[in-house]
Protein backbone atom coordinates (compact mmCIF):
# COMPACT_ATOMS: atom_id res chain seq x y z
CA UNK A 1 0.00 0.00 0.00
CA UNK A 2 1.91 3.07 -1.15
CA UNK A 3 0.75 5.79 1.19
CA UNK A 4 -0.03 8.37 -1.43
CA UNK A 5 -1.73 11.60 -0.45
CA UNK A 6 -5.12 10.56 -1.82
CA UNK A 7 -5.07 7.37 0.25
CA UNK A 8 -4.19 9.30 3.37
CA UNK A 9 -7.15 11.58 2.66
CA UNK A 10 -9.46 8.63 2.15
CA UNK A 11 -8.34 7.05 5.43
CA UNK A 12 -8.85 10.41 7.16
CA UNK A 13 -12.40 10.51 5.78
CA UNK A 14 -12.98 7.07 7.24
CA UNK A 15 -11.71 8.27 10.63
CA UNK A 16 -14.01 11.31 10.54
CA UNK A 17 -16.94 8.96 9.88
CA UNK A 18 -16.07 6.91 12.95
CA UNK A 19 -15.52 10.03 15.05
CA UNK A 20 -18.91 11.39 13.98
CA UNK A 21 -20.59 8.15 15.03
CA UNK A 22 -18.94 8.32 18.45
CA UNK A 23 -19.87 11.92 19.18
CA UNK A 24 -22.48 12.94 21.69
CA UNK A 25 -22.65 16.68 21.10
CA UNK A 26 -24.32 18.44 18.20
CA UNK A 27 -21.73 21.21 18.08
CA UNK A 28 -18.79 18.85 17.74
CA UNK A 29 -20.72 16.76 15.20
CA UNK A 30 -21.18 19.84 13.04
CA UNK A 31 -17.46 20.58 13.34
CA UNK A 32 -16.58 17.01 12.43
CA UNK A 33 -18.75 17.07 9.29
CA UNK A 34 -17.11 20.39 8.41
CA UNK A 35 -13.70 18.79 8.85
CA UNK A 36 -14.75 15.93 6.61
CA UNK A 37 -15.89 18.46 3.99
CA UNK A 38 -12.52 20.25 4.14
CA UNK A 39 -10.63 16.96 3.87
CA UNK A 40 -12.69 15.95 0.86
CA UNK A 41 -12.21 19.38 -0.65
CA UNK A 42 -8.50 18.62 -1.00
CA UNK A 43 -9.16 15.26 -2.68
CA UNK A 44 -9.89 16.54 -6.23
CA UNK A 45 -6.39 18.09 -6.31
CA UNK A 46 -4.82 14.65 -5.78
CA UNK A 47 -6.81 12.41 -8.12
CA UNK A 48 -5.51 13.65 -11.45
CA UNK A 49 -2.47 11.93 -12.88
CA UNK A 50 -1.67 14.65 -15.43
CA UNK A 51 -1.14 17.65 -13.18
CA UNK A 52 -3.71 20.18 -12.08
CA UNK A 53 -6.64 20.72 -14.36
CA UNK A 54 -8.77 23.77 -13.81
CA UNK A 55 -12.15 21.96 -13.54
CA UNK A 56 -10.80 19.92 -10.65
CA UNK A 57 -9.45 23.06 -8.99
CA UNK A 58 -12.88 24.69 -9.28
CA UNK A 59 -14.53 21.63 -7.76
CA UNK A 60 -11.95 21.55 -4.97
CA UNK A 61 -12.36 25.20 -4.06
CA UNK A 62 -16.15 24.99 -4.34
CA UNK A 63 -16.60 21.95 -2.14
CA UNK A 64 -13.95 23.08 0.36
CA UNK A 65 -15.69 26.42 0.82
CA UNK A 66 -19.24 25.07 0.85
CA UNK A 67 -18.85 21.87 2.85
CA UNK A 68 -16.01 22.99 5.06
CA UNK A 69 -17.01 26.55 5.87
CA UNK A 70 -20.50 27.62 4.75
CA UNK A 71 -22.49 24.58 5.88
CA UNK A 72 -20.97 24.35 9.39
CA UNK A 73 -21.53 28.08 9.86
CA UNK A 74 -25.12 27.89 8.66
CA UNK A 75 -25.94 24.80 10.75
CA UNK A 76 -24.36 26.28 13.87
CA UNK A 77 -26.42 29.40 13.32
CA UNK A 78 -29.61 27.40 12.92
CA UNK A 79 -28.80 25.38 16.01
CA UNK A 80 -28.29 28.55 18.06
CA UNK A 81 -31.50 30.05 16.75
CA UNK A 82 -33.54 26.98 17.65
CA UNK A 83 -32.27 26.73 21.22
CA UNK A 84 -32.14 22.98 20.66
CA UNK A 85 -30.51 20.69 23.18
CA UNK A 86 -26.78 20.17 22.92
CA UNK A 87 -26.93 16.37 22.76
CA UNK A 88 -27.58 14.46 19.57
CA UNK A 89 -30.01 12.13 21.37
CA UNK A 90 -29.04 8.91 19.64
CA UNK A 91 -31.21 5.80 19.59
CA UNK A 92 -28.02 3.72 19.38
CA UNK A 93 -25.38 4.87 21.89
CA UNK A 94 -21.95 6.23 20.96
CA UNK A 95 -19.94 3.07 21.71
CA UNK A 96 -22.35 0.82 19.85
CA UNK A 97 -22.46 3.32 16.97
CA UNK A 98 -18.67 3.33 16.67
CA UNK A 99 -18.53 -0.47 16.77
CA UNK A 100 -21.25 -0.67 14.12
CA UNK A 101 -19.29 1.92 12.12
CA UNK A 102 -16.32 -0.47 12.12
CA UNK A 103 -18.65 -3.25 10.98
CA UNK A 104 -19.92 -0.99 8.19
CA UNK A 105 -16.32 -0.36 7.11
CA UNK A 106 -15.54 -4.07 7.03
CA UNK A 107 -18.73 -4.65 5.05
CA UNK A 108 -17.83 -1.90 2.55
CA UNK A 109 -14.39 -3.41 1.99
CA UNK A 110 -16.09 -6.72 1.28
CA UNK A 111 -18.52 -5.02 -1.13
CA UNK A 112 -15.61 -3.14 -2.69
CA UNK A 113 -13.80 -6.39 -3.38
CA UNK A 114 -16.92 -7.88 -5.01
CA UNK A 115 -17.65 -4.84 -7.14
CA UNK A 116 -16.75 -5.44 -10.76
CA UNK A 117 -15.39 -2.30 -12.39
CA UNK A 118 -15.05 -1.95 -16.14
CA UNK A 119 -11.39 -2.78 -16.83
CA UNK A 120 -10.59 0.44 -18.70
CA UNK A 121 -11.69 2.77 -15.88
CA UNK A 122 -8.67 4.17 -14.04
CA UNK A 123 -9.44 3.97 -10.32
CA UNK A 124 -7.73 6.50 -8.06
CA UNK A 125 -7.01 3.99 -5.33
CA UNK A 126 -8.25 0.62 -4.13
CA UNK A 127 -9.51 2.40 -1.04
CA UNK A 128 -11.81 4.75 -2.97
CA UNK A 129 -14.71 2.35 -3.52
CA UNK A 130 -14.84 1.00 0.06
CA UNK A 131 -14.46 4.48 1.55
CA UNK A 132 -17.27 5.81 -0.67
CA UNK A 133 -19.60 2.99 0.38
CA UNK A 134 -18.59 3.28 4.06
CA UNK A 135 -19.25 7.04 4.02
CA UNK A 136 -22.63 6.52 2.35
CA UNK A 137 -23.63 3.90 4.92
CA UNK A 138 -22.40 6.03 7.85
CA UNK A 139 -24.53 8.91 6.59
CA UNK A 140 -27.57 6.67 6.37
CA UNK A 141 -26.82 5.30 9.85
CA UNK A 142 -26.70 8.81 11.30
CA UNK A 143 -30.01 9.69 9.63
CA UNK A 144 -31.71 6.59 10.98
CA UNK A 145 -30.40 6.59 14.56
CA UNK A 146 -30.32 10.24 15.63
CA UNK A 147 -33.41 11.93 17.00
CA UNK A 148 -32.34 15.54 16.50
CA UNK A 149 -33.55 16.97 13.22
CA UNK A 150 -30.23 18.79 12.63
CA UNK A 151 -28.42 15.45 12.77
CA UNK A 152 -30.53 14.32 9.82
CA UNK A 153 -29.10 17.26 7.86
CA UNK A 154 -25.59 16.20 8.88
CA UNK A 155 -26.32 12.61 7.89
CA UNK A 156 -27.50 13.83 4.51
CA UNK A 157 -24.26 15.78 4.08
CA UNK A 158 -22.15 12.74 4.95
CA UNK A 159 -24.17 10.64 2.51
CA UNK A 160 -23.51 13.21 -0.19
CA UNK A 161 -19.79 13.15 0.68
CA UNK A 162 -19.85 9.43 -0.03
CA UNK A 163 -21.32 10.04 -3.46
CA UNK A 164 -18.69 12.74 -4.01
CA UNK A 165 -15.86 10.26 -3.31
CA UNK A 166 -17.54 7.74 -5.57
CA UNK A 167 -17.78 10.27 -8.40
CA UNK A 168 -14.19 11.44 -8.03
CA UNK A 169 -12.83 7.92 -7.83
CA UNK A 170 -14.62 6.43 -10.77
CA UNK A 171 -15.52 9.23 -13.13
CA UNK A 172 -12.41 11.27 -13.88
CA UNK A 173 -14.07 12.71 -16.91
CA UNK A 174 -17.22 13.66 -15.09
CA UNK A 175 -18.08 17.06 -16.51
CA UNK A 176 -17.58 20.10 -14.31
CA UNK A 177 -21.20 21.05 -14.95
CA UNK A 178 -22.54 17.89 -13.28
CA UNK A 179 -20.32 18.30 -10.23
CA UNK A 180 -21.23 21.97 -9.86
CA UNK A 181 -24.91 21.07 -10.29
CA UNK A 182 -24.68 18.57 -7.44
CA UNK A 183 -22.93 21.12 -5.24
CA UNK A 184 -25.65 23.68 -5.97
CA UNK A 185 -28.35 21.11 -5.16
CA UNK A 186 -26.72 20.25 -1.85
CA UNK A 187 -26.33 23.94 -1.06
CA UNK A 188 -30.02 24.63 -1.66
CA UNK A 189 -31.08 21.48 0.18
CA UNK A 190 -29.07 22.32 3.30
CA UNK A 191 -30.37 25.88 3.26
CA UNK A 192 -33.97 24.77 2.94
CA UNK A 193 -33.53 22.08 5.58
CA UNK A 194 -31.99 24.62 7.94
CA UNK A 195 -34.94 26.94 7.47
CA UNK A 196 -37.42 24.08 7.86
CA UNK A 197 -35.76 22.94 11.09
CA UNK A 198 -35.86 26.50 12.38
CA UNK A 199 -39.59 26.76 11.70
CA UNK A 200 -40.31 23.37 13.23
CA UNK A 201 -38.45 24.46 16.35
CA UNK A 202 -40.38 27.72 16.55
CA UNK A 203 -43.77 26.08 16.10
CA UNK A 204 -43.32 23.05 18.32
CA UNK A 205 -40.46 23.98 20.70
CA UNK A 206 -38.45 20.90 19.80
CA UNK A 207 -36.78 19.25 16.83
CA UNK A 208 -37.10 15.68 18.02
CA UNK A 209 -37.90 13.64 14.93
CA UNK A 210 -39.57 10.89 16.94
CA UNK A 211 -42.20 13.32 18.07
CA UNK A 212 -42.67 14.73 14.58
CA UNK A 213 -44.96 11.78 13.84
CA UNK A 214 -47.50 13.37 16.17
CA UNK A 215 -47.76 16.50 14.06
CA UNK A 216 -51.23 17.20 12.73
CA UNK A 217 -52.92 20.13 11.09
Amino acid sequence: MPSSVSELILVAVMLTNLALLGMGRLRSSIRMVGLQGMTLGVLPLCVSSQGLMWPLVVIAVGSFALKGLVFPWWLTRTWRATNAQAEVAPIVGPSASTALGAALIAFSFWIGSRFQLPPNVPVVSRLAMPVAVATLLSGLFVIVTRRQALMQVLGYLVLENGIFVFGLALAHEEPLLVEMGILLDVFVAVFVMGIAVFHIAREFDHIDVERLTELRD
Binding site: M1, L8, L18, A99, I105, F109
Partner: protein
Protein backbone atom coordinates in the same frame (compact mmCIF):
# COMPACT_ATOMS: atom_id res chain seq x y z
CA UNK B 1 8.12 -24.77 18.12
CA UNK B 2 10.71 -23.53 20.57
CA UNK B 3 13.78 -22.10 18.95
CA UNK B 4 16.80 -24.35 19.27
CA UNK B 5 19.31 -21.52 19.23
CA UNK B 6 18.74 -20.35 22.77
CA UNK B 7 21.53 -17.87 23.10
CA UNK B 8 22.43 -15.73 26.06
CA UNK B 9 21.14 -12.62 24.31
CA UNK B 10 17.64 -14.15 24.31
CA UNK B 11 17.58 -13.70 28.05
CA UNK B 12 18.29 -9.98 27.76
CA UNK B 13 14.62 -8.91 27.25
CA UNK B 14 13.67 -10.76 30.42
CA UNK B 15 16.61 -9.28 32.33
CA UNK B 16 15.71 -5.77 31.17
CA UNK B 17 12.09 -6.29 32.19
CA UNK B 18 13.06 -7.54 35.65
CA UNK B 19 15.57 -4.80 36.18
CA UNK B 20 13.99 -1.69 34.66
CA UNK B 21 10.24 -2.24 35.16
CA UNK B 22 9.96 -0.35 38.48
CA UNK B 23 11.98 2.48 36.95
CA UNK B 24 9.04 3.29 34.63
CA UNK B 25 6.76 4.04 37.57
CA UNK B 26 9.45 6.32 39.00
CA UNK B 27 9.79 8.11 35.66
CA UNK B 28 6.04 8.67 35.41
CA UNK B 29 5.91 10.04 38.95
CA UNK B 30 8.92 12.29 38.34
CA UNK B 31 7.30 13.69 35.18
CA UNK B 32 4.11 14.42 37.08
CA UNK B 33 6.11 16.07 39.86
CA UNK B 34 7.94 18.31 37.38
CA UNK B 35 4.63 19.34 35.83
CA UNK B 36 3.25 20.08 39.27
CA UNK B 37 6.29 22.19 40.20
CA UNK B 38 7.45 19.76 42.87
CA UNK B 39 10.73 17.89 43.33
CA UNK B 40 8.92 14.61 43.65
CA UNK B 41 10.16 11.30 45.03
CA UNK B 42 13.46 9.88 43.76
CA UNK B 43 13.26 8.05 40.44
CA UNK B 44 14.26 4.85 42.23
CA UNK B 45 11.49 5.20 44.82
CA UNK B 46 9.62 2.09 43.62
CA UNK B 47 12.72 -0.04 44.32
CA UNK B 48 12.90 1.34 47.88
CA UNK B 49 9.18 0.67 48.34
CA UNK B 50 9.61 -2.88 47.14
CA UNK B 51 12.50 -3.50 49.53
CA UNK B 52 10.59 -2.03 52.44
CA UNK B 53 7.44 -4.06 51.68
CA UNK B 54 9.39 -7.30 51.30
CA UNK B 55 10.84 -6.81 54.76
CA UNK B 56 7.46 -6.49 56.41
CA UNK B 57 5.02 -9.09 57.60
CA UNK B 58 1.61 -9.61 56.01
CA UNK B 59 -1.75 -9.25 57.72
CA UNK B 60 -4.60 -11.51 56.66
CA UNK B 61 -8.24 -10.99 57.45
CA UNK B 62 -10.02 -13.96 59.03
CA UNK B 63 -12.70 -13.90 56.33
CA UNK B 64 -10.22 -14.59 53.55
CA UNK B 65 -9.23 -18.01 52.25
CA UNK B 66 -6.27 -19.41 50.31
CA UNK B 67 -7.49 -17.57 47.19
CA UNK B 68 -6.58 -14.27 48.78
CA UNK B 69 -3.03 -15.49 49.55
CA UNK B 70 -2.60 -17.10 46.13
CA UNK B 71 -3.77 -13.99 44.26
CA UNK B 72 -0.58 -11.86 44.33
CA UNK B 73 1.72 -14.85 43.77
CA UNK B 74 -0.15 -16.20 40.76
CA UNK B 75 -0.49 -12.68 39.36
CA UNK B 76 3.25 -12.11 39.55
CA UNK B 77 4.02 -15.59 38.20
CA UNK B 78 1.71 -15.18 35.21
CA UNK B 79 3.17 -11.76 34.42
CA UNK B 80 6.71 -13.18 34.66
CA UNK B 81 5.71 -15.99 32.29
CA UNK B 82 4.31 -13.39 29.89
CA UNK B 83 7.68 -11.60 30.04
CA UNK B 84 9.31 -14.72 28.59
CA UNK B 85 7.67 -14.29 25.17
CA UNK B 86 8.15 -10.53 24.67
CA UNK B 87 11.16 -9.57 22.53
CA UNK B 88 13.08 -6.35 23.02
CA UNK B 89 15.14 -4.30 20.59
CA UNK B 90 17.49 -6.54 18.58
CA UNK B 91 17.09 -9.50 20.95
CA UNK B 92 14.65 -12.37 20.47
CA UNK B 93 12.44 -13.37 23.35
CA UNK B 94 13.56 -16.22 25.60
CA UNK B 95 10.74 -18.36 24.24
CA UNK B 96 9.03 -18.01 20.92
CA UNK B 97 6.63 -20.24 19.07
CA UNK B 98 3.66 -19.85 16.75
CA UNK B 99 0.72 -18.29 18.54
CA UNK B 100 2.63 -16.93 21.51
CA UNK B 101 0.84 -13.61 21.13
CA UNK B 102 -2.37 -15.35 22.20
CA UNK B 103 -0.53 -16.88 25.14
CA UNK B 104 0.76 -13.42 26.06
CA UNK B 105 -2.74 -11.92 26.05
CA UNK B 106 -4.17 -14.72 28.14
CA UNK B 107 -1.33 -14.87 30.64
CA UNK B 108 -2.17 -11.25 31.38
CA UNK B 109 -5.79 -12.41 31.56
CA UNK B 110 -4.85 -15.10 34.10
CA UNK B 111 -3.03 -12.52 36.20
CA UNK B 112 -6.10 -10.31 36.12
CA UNK B 113 -8.40 -13.19 37.00
CA UNK B 114 -6.45 -13.95 40.16
CA UNK B 115 -6.27 -10.30 41.20
CA UNK B 116 -10.04 -10.13 40.79
CA UNK B 117 -10.63 -13.41 42.61
CA UNK B 118 -8.47 -12.26 45.53
CA UNK B 119 -10.37 -8.96 45.62
CA UNK B 120 -13.72 -10.77 45.72
CA UNK B 121 -12.42 -13.13 48.40
CA UNK B 122 -12.12 -10.28 50.89
CA UNK B 123 -15.87 -9.81 50.88
CA UNK B 124 -15.51 -6.04 50.84
CA UNK B 125 -18.17 -4.30 48.74
CA UNK B 126 -15.64 -1.72 47.51
CA UNK B 127 -13.30 -4.38 46.21
CA UNK B 128 -16.19 -6.10 44.49
CA UNK B 129 -17.00 -2.84 42.71
CA UNK B 130 -13.39 -2.39 41.61
CA UNK B 131 -13.28 -6.00 40.43
CA UNK B 132 -16.42 -5.53 38.38
CA UNK B 133 -14.98 -2.44 36.69
CA UNK B 134 -11.62 -4.07 36.07
CA UNK B 135 -13.25 -7.05 34.37
CA UNK B 136 -15.57 -4.86 32.30
CA UNK B 137 -12.81 -2.58 31.01
CA UNK B 138 -10.35 -5.35 30.34
CA UNK B 139 -12.99 -7.26 28.41
CA UNK B 140 -13.25 -4.21 26.16
CA UNK B 141 -9.46 -3.80 25.94
CA UNK B 142 -8.82 -7.39 24.96
CA UNK B 143 -10.21 -7.24 21.39
CA UNK B 144 -8.12 -4.12 20.78
CA UNK B 145 -4.95 -5.90 21.99
CA UNK B 146 -5.52 -9.13 20.08
CA UNK B 147 -6.79 -7.60 16.84
CA UNK B 148 -3.98 -5.04 16.89
CA UNK B 149 -1.33 -7.72 17.36
CA UNK B 150 -2.85 -9.86 14.61
CA UNK B 151 -2.90 -6.87 12.24
CA UNK B 152 0.78 -6.18 12.89
CA UNK B 153 1.68 -9.86 12.64
CA UNK B 154 -0.10 -10.14 9.28
CA UNK B 155 1.54 -6.98 7.99
CA UNK B 156 4.99 -8.01 9.20
CA UNK B 157 5.17 -11.71 8.54
CA UNK B 158 2.62 -11.94 5.77
CA UNK B 159 0.01 -14.61 5.35
CA UNK B 160 2.38 -17.52 5.81
CA UNK B 161 1.13 -17.77 9.37
CA UNK B 162 4.14 -17.37 11.64
CA UNK B 163 2.18 -15.47 14.23
CA UNK B 164 4.76 -15.15 16.95
CA UNK B 165 5.75 -11.97 18.75
CA UNK B 166 9.46 -12.37 18.06
CA UNK B 167 9.02 -13.08 14.35
CA UNK B 168 6.74 -10.09 13.90
CA UNK B 169 9.00 -7.89 16.00
CA UNK B 170 12.08 -8.61 13.88
CA UNK B 171 10.22 -7.87 10.64
CA UNK B 172 9.13 -4.38 11.71
CA UNK B 173 11.79 -2.44 9.83
CA UNK B 174 11.78 0.82 7.95
CA UNK B 175 10.71 -0.81 4.68
CA UNK B 176 7.56 -2.11 6.32
CA UNK B 177 6.89 1.38 7.63
CA UNK B 178 6.93 2.72 4.08
CA UNK B 179 4.57 -0.04 2.98
CA UNK B 180 2.14 -0.27 5.85
CA UNK B 181 2.82 2.81 7.97
CA UNK B 182 -0.86 3.52 8.53
CA UNK B 183 -1.49 0.01 9.84
CA UNK B 184 1.39 0.30 12.31
CA UNK B 185 0.34 3.79 13.36
CA UNK B 186 -3.26 2.73 14.07
CA UNK B 187 -2.15 -0.35 15.98
CA UNK B 188 0.37 1.74 17.93
CA UNK B 189 -2.37 4.15 19.03
CA UNK B 190 -4.76 1.28 19.84
CA UNK B 191 -2.11 -0.51 21.92
CA UNK B 192 -1.32 2.72 23.72
CA UNK B 193 -4.98 3.03 24.77
CA UNK B 194 -4.85 -0.59 25.90
CA UNK B 195 -1.74 0.22 27.94
CA UNK B 196 -3.48 3.17 29.61
CA UNK B 197 -6.47 0.99 30.48
CA UNK B 198 -4.60 -2.15 31.53
CA UNK B 199 -2.08 -0.32 33.69
CA UNK B 200 -4.79 1.88 35.21
CA UNK B 201 -3.26 5.14 34.06
CA UNK B 202 -5.11 8.40 33.96
CA UNK B 203 -7.79 8.73 31.32
CA UNK B 204 -9.15 5.42 32.60
CA UNK B 205 -8.17 5.25 36.26
CA UNK B 206 -6.30 7.53 38.60
CA UNK B 207 -3.50 5.60 40.34
CA UNK B 208 -3.20 8.31 42.99
CA UNK B 209 -6.74 8.46 44.31
CA UNK B 210 -7.57 6.54 47.39
CA UNK B 211 -11.25 7.23 47.14
CA UNK B 212 -12.73 3.80 46.58
CA UNK B 213 -15.65 4.99 44.51
CA UNK B 214 -13.57 6.28 41.62
CA UNK B 215 -10.72 3.85 41.33
CA UNK B 216 -10.36 0.51 39.65
CA UNK B 217 -7.05 -1.22 40.19
CA UNK B 218 -6.04 0.39 43.46
CA UNK B 219 -9.28 -0.54 45.16
CA UNK B 220 -8.79 -4.22 44.43
CA UNK B 221 -5.48 -4.41 46.27
CA UNK B 222 -6.44 -2.40 49.38
CA UNK B 223 -6.37 -5.42 51.68
CA UNK B 224 -3.01 -6.76 50.61
CA UNK B 225 -0.01 -5.93 52.75
CA UNK B 226 3.69 -6.61 53.14
CA UNK B 227 5.32 -8.99 50.66
CA UNK B 228 1.97 -9.64 48.93
CA UNK B 229 1.66 -5.97 48.12
CA UNK B 230 5.26 -5.94 46.91
CA UNK B 231 4.40 -8.75 44.46
CA UNK B 232 1.39 -6.78 43.24
CA UNK B 233 3.41 -3.60 42.83
CA UNK B 234 6.18 -5.42 40.98
CA UNK B 235 3.64 -7.28 38.81
CA UNK B 236 1.95 -4.02 37.86
CA UNK B 237 5.34 -2.48 36.97
CA UNK B 238 6.22 -5.53 34.86
CA UNK B 239 2.92 -5.33 33.01
CA UNK B 240 3.55 -1.66 32.29
CA UNK B 241 7.02 -2.54 30.98
CA UNK B 242 5.73 -5.37 28.77
CA UNK B 243 2.93 -3.32 27.20
CA UNK B 244 5.30 -0.36 26.73
CA UNK B 245 7.82 -2.54 24.89
CA UNK B 246 5.00 -3.81 22.67
CA UNK B 247 3.92 -0.26 21.79
CA UNK B 248 7.53 0.77 21.18
CA UNK B 249 8.26 -2.29 19.05
CA UNK B 250 5.25 -1.48 16.84
CA UNK B 251 5.90 2.24 16.56
CA UNK B 252 9.71 2.33 16.37
CA UNK B 253 11.19 0.43 13.40
CA UNK B 254 14.23 -1.84 13.78
CA UNK B 255 17.51 -0.25 12.71
CA UNK B 256 20.65 -1.99 11.59
CA UNK B 257 23.51 -1.67 14.13
CA UNK B 258 22.57 -3.75 17.11
CA UNK B 259 23.74 -1.30 19.75
CA UNK B 260 21.78 1.56 18.13
CA UNK B 261 18.64 -0.57 18.00
CA UNK B 262 19.02 -1.40 21.68
CA UNK B 263 19.61 2.23 22.58
CA UNK B 264 16.62 3.46 20.56
CA UNK B 265 14.32 0.81 22.04
CA UNK B 266 15.34 1.68 25.61
CA UNK B 267 14.96 5.38 24.90
CA UNK B 268 11.57 4.66 23.33
CA UNK B 269 10.26 2.84 26.40
CA UNK B 270 11.47 5.57 28.75
CA UNK B 271 10.06 8.27 26.46
CA UNK B 272 6.74 6.44 26.51
CA UNK B 273 6.76 6.52 30.33
CA UNK B 274 7.42 10.26 30.20
CA UNK B 275 4.56 10.56 27.70
CA UNK B 276 2.22 8.75 30.07
CA UNK B 277 3.33 11.16 32.78
CA UNK B 278 2.59 14.14 30.53
CA UNK B 279 -0.88 12.78 29.78
CA UNK B 280 -1.51 12.25 33.48
CA UNK B 281 -0.50 15.80 34.30
CA UNK B 282 -2.43 17.43 31.49
CA UNK B 283 -5.80 15.76 31.55
CA UNK B 284 -8.40 14.58 34.03
CA UNK B 285 -9.80 11.11 34.42
CA UNK B 286 -12.63 10.40 31.99
CA UNK B 287 -16.09 9.94 33.36
CA UNK B 288 -16.67 6.26 33.96
CA UNK B 289 -19.32 6.04 31.23
CA UNK B 290 -16.88 7.48 28.70
CA UNK B 291 -14.16 4.88 29.33
CA UNK B 292 -15.89 2.13 27.30
CA UNK B 293 -16.07 4.57 24.43
CA UNK B 294 -12.29 5.08 24.54
CA UNK B 295 -11.68 1.34 24.54
CA UNK B 296 -14.22 0.66 21.80
CA UNK B 297 -12.44 3.38 19.83
CA UNK B 298 -9.16 1.52 20.33
CA UNK B 299 -10.75 -1.73 19.16
CA UNK B 300 -12.21 0.04 16.13
CA UNK B 301 -8.77 1.42 15.25
CA UNK B 302 -7.40 -2.11 15.46
CA UNK B 303 -10.18 -3.38 13.17
CA UNK B 304 -9.44 -0.56 10.75
CA UNK B 305 -5.75 -1.53 10.78
CA UNK B 306 -6.68 -5.14 10.06
CA UNK B 307 -8.95 -4.08 7.18
CA UNK B 308 -6.30 -1.75 5.74
CA UNK B 309 -3.69 -4.48 6.06
CA UNK B 310 -5.81 -6.77 3.88
CA UNK B 311 -5.58 -4.12 1.14
CA UNK B 312 -1.78 -4.17 0.96
Amino acid sequence: MVSDSTRLSNLLPLAFALLFAPLLLGLINRTKAVFGGRCGPPILQTYYDLRKLLGKGAVYSRTTSWVFRAGPIVTLAATLAAALVVPFGPCDAALHFVGDLVLFAYLLGLARFFTVAAALDTGSPFEGMGASREVFFSALAEPALLLGLVAVAKAAVGRSGWFDLTGMHQHLNGALWLDAGLVLLFVGVALFFVLLAECSRIPVDDPNTHLELTMIHEVMVLDHSGPDFAYILYGAALKLWLLSTLVVSVVVPRVSPVWLDMLISLAGVFALAVGVGVIESSMARLRLVRVPQLLVGAAVLAVLALVLESQI
